[in-house]
Amino acid sequence: MRQLIWLIPLVPLAGFLINGLVYLLSHRTKNAPGHGHGHDEEDGHGEAHAVPPVAGSHPPTGHGHGEAHAVIPFKGLHTAVGVGSVGIACLLAFGAIFDVGLKAFAHGESVTRVLYRWIPLGVNQALGEIPGPAREWVVDVAFRLDALSALMLAFVTFVGFLIHVYSVGYMSHEEGYGRFFAYLNLFMFAMLVLVLGANFLILFVGWEGVGLCSYLLIGYYYEKKFAGDAAKKAFVVNRIGDFGFILGIFAVFALFGTLDFATVFSSAAQNPAAYAPYMTIVCLLLFVGACGKSAQFPLYVWLPDAMAGPTPVSALIHAATMVTAGVYMVARCNVFFRLAPHAMIVVAVVGAFTALFAATIGIAQNDIKKVLAYSTVSQLGYMFLACGVGAFSEGMFHVTTHAFFKACLFLGSGSVIHAMAGEQDIRRMGGLRAKIPTTYRTFLVATLTIAGVPGLAAFFSKDAIKAAVFHAEFEAIPWMPKLLYAVALFTAGLTAFYMFRLLGLTFWGRFRGTPEEESRIHESPASMTVPLIVLAFLSVVSGWIGIPIVHGGNRIGEFLKSIRLPIVGLSEKEHHASLTIEFALMAAAVAVAAIGMYLAYAWYVKGEGRTPAKLAAEWPGVYKTVSSKYYVDEAYDRVFVRGLALGGGNLLWEVDATVVDLIPNGASAITKGVSWIAAAFDQYVVDGLVNGVANSLQALFGVFRKAQTGRVQNYALVMGGGLFCLVAVYLLFR
């Protein structure tokens, strides 16, 4: 089994090829001449009637109101291939993981499978004063399964499989059913390449692949302008991050002469003195990449807009898997980051700031998916905060639990949107508890989890992060960890608040839409509710792999210990804080979460939103700023989009017209006077001379004019002939 890890990404790739080809071929015959634009017409019938034009995705509608839907060709095949390939990948993944064994992983066992030599560059010397002989510079296509990739592999394939199952129900009336599954399979392929890659370049291939699929799936409803715009935004912002990332990869290649994870990290760990000076810049560059992919400030702006894609996509790509790739990469490079304490501080501060910043925006959003999107950005900030204080395994722990509960929340929101026939505004919901009980229960569980109710998954993972932050030590800025801890704690309260606001406005109270809308609300089919139940179950129990304090309770920490290579000459203290402090930290977290939950309940459910409305009325400036997301998008638009494209040109023009022109205008007045005298001289004396010379020259060189045929190929021929003559002379007479 363990030798088959290369098959894990390839099975979804095969699924992508089959689905894509079948979709293409079946749609080509349909749009053949004579049928006109059959595709477009059906789109018009199937969707536009039932769905009100809302910002965000437009999910399938029309259950039970007798609307004729276009028959989707090869739907069964698409389902079988799309879901089946990911199912097989999942089985293979778990087979490989258990074949090696969890214990073996914990002891640092890893499987590397080299498929073929990709780029042999020849023998070269590594950069700098790093000792060691010149060696062959190569990049292999190789996959590697170790503790870190095993963890990622397990939840990526499993959550991926569940979301594929969910999509069968959610997308069942979509015209582009086959296209959707093809893209989703391609995404799984890229993500698995990213996770399993054994060197930076393979990781980068997967990294770009998921970026492409993210672009394709955000723009799934490409006939809608906002979807296309959001897709482009995601792509461009990710490119900014990738620019840093690829520079970081170049730097690693130049320093180490290889990109292989095992070699790179062990040589850095064994010879820290030689590499440490370069590590700050390398880590910062890599972190720029992580910021783009994992939506950290200031590159987070694409993620909320990415909600224009179908909801399963938001759950899979923009919550559970792809956006955590940055955290995975930072955890993978933990040796580098530990050698660069200044870069670590940057990571921690950016993470904490993003967590707080996004959480405050989340409070004032009214789109159910936007709230969850900002929540994701905030939780990702939490993960980076953990990495920044050196708690890489805690960060990965939160990645894992987050994958379950956030996927559950997103799929639940998809089920709500499905029930509401495309409505996404939580102000028009309310009281859905009785109408869609299964969705409500699973959503409730996931909300309690993310809010940090003791015993559920996120309680343990967030608590582990907060404890690590509390105990962290930054030599450069000693007071920083305590500030970061305060930020993390406050963010936890905000998280509980906005999640309960969302829950209360959606499911509790009374329905705020029209009675006609109310009568249409219905529970989703089993293919959607079953994944919800499984994910809700996992968002309860997945935290139990990392129970603190209890001896042997922190299994995830033990499991991931092997990725943290010991660095020569760098002693890292393990913190064994007293039980009192541990319990005090937990109590603080619980208290803050409880306050957040209570406030949200009291304000939005019992008070029916009167208090927040009053607050918003009292401080209109603050409310406007927060609900407009601090005008970051507007600022980017002003500075980068319009500023560079138009403003730059205008500015130069203005300067030119006012400042620069002043000088020539003054000068011209003087010159005019002088030139009047000169003109007379010129006309009679100089012109006579010049014209005389010109006429004689024109007569003389009229011959050469013929050579200027104006035909570019004649020039090329003359140039080639001349070159030939020169080389011939050189070869003959040298």
Binding site: L121, G122, N124, Q708, T709, G710, R711, V712, Q713
Partner: protein, 101 residues
């Protein structure tokens, strides 16, 4: 048969000659652009082959530069193609002879 540096040079020479012929003989502007691309890549092949033989990365770095420049050249060339076509409704370079003396 082992592939030696001579083989690379022969392939490169062939590519270059084909490209040069294309530039001289074809009338379509797009084809000429593609032929230039061929010539550039013939040079790249030489650079990489010698880089490998001499165990010196400089050649490969250079070929990456050439590829980058070629990308820029293609962009400008295609822009020219479009404006040429807009002006004259044809891509025949014979007809673009405004610069005749």
């Amino acid at each position: 048969m082992t592939v030696t540096i001579n083989h690379y040079m022969i392939v490169s020479l062939l590519l270059f000659s084909i490209g040069f012929f294309g530039v001289l003989a074809r009338r379509n502007f797009l084809t000429i652009l593609m032929s230039i691309e061929l010539m550039l890549n013939a040079v790249n092949l030489n650079l990489v082959a010698f880089s490998r033989r001499l165990s010196d990365l400089t050649g490969q770095v250079f070929s990456v530069f050439v590829i980058t420049i070629a990308a820029g050249e293609a962009a400008i060339g295609l822009a020219l193609t479009i404006s040429l076509f807009r002006q004259r409704k044809t891509l025949n370079v014979e007809e673009a002879d405004t610069m005749r003396g």
